[in-house]
Symmetry: C2
Subunit: 128 residues, 2 copies
DNA sequence: CGGTATCCGGGACGATACTG
DNA sequence: CAGTATCGTCCCGGATACCG
């Protein structure tokens, strides 16, 4: 990665090249997985997602949704009612992804105590 | 997330709770997937990984390896020779994860042009 | 209800240089 | 070969406040 990307941010530079690593980074990002999995059941509203995705802030939810919409993984449907109603739906491309994500989450749930234990051991042996 | 986590970083705070989102964040992080997939073939050396994982810097490779080792996903074996030789091997826990990761990478490869196209469309319709 | 705007601290990350 | 150290930048992401 040369230093001659003057006037262009690293973000833009990487997007230009669009390697898989960057695609994965979007799709498998901290919040993206939660949102994608939560939206898999069917159309989901903004506030629902806020509750379903544990620990996400309103700001990050908005940003994550916009990013996923931009990548063509989510469709945003606005119903011009009062109060407003907005629904998010997975695209076919995203639905195809769902199984991989689900198995990832499953793995994480099954092994998270083992991971916590491994960390404690590692920390104990490196910092006495 | 209360504001009363004085004296404790956000990192530490989240690790304490250790929710799946944080486990996934480690495992599915930008570089972690690449490293994990590259190491799946068998024992891999540091320099090999540097070549296999496209675009990673030496620094990030080291940090990623340490993080994965700490989480109990990688075993680091040092051979006390000159020049030194270090091998990284997946643990059983990590090997179990490999299939999910591989299908994720496969998905990303199959759809990355579609994603690039979706972005262009999105950008064109939002910023005229 | 479903956002947007602003502020700001801390972490992610590359570049560069040095080492056993 | 396989790292560590240091530095500087950019961006992630929470807190808070405001809006149609």
């Amino acid at each position: 990665m040369s230093q001659r990307n003057i006037g262009v941010t690293h973000q833009e530079f990487v997007e230009e090249a669009c390697p898989i690593v960057e695609v994965i980074d979007h799709v498998a990002g901290k919040w993206s997985i939660g949102v994608l999995v939560a939206a898999a059941h069917g159309p989901v509203r903004f506030t629902e997602l806020e509750r379903l995705v544990n620990g996400i802030s309103r700001r990050m939810l908005t940003l994550t949704l916009r990013k996923l919409e931009r990548d063509g993984l989510l469709v945003r449907t606005v119903y011009p009612t009062v109060p407003p109603k907005v629904e998010y739906t997975l695209t076919d491309m995203a639905r195809e992804l769902h199984e991989s994500l689900a198995s990832l989450v499953d793995w994480a749930e099954r092994h998270r105590t083992a991971i916590t234990a491994a960390r404690r051991t590692y920390d104990a042996t490196t910092t006495p």
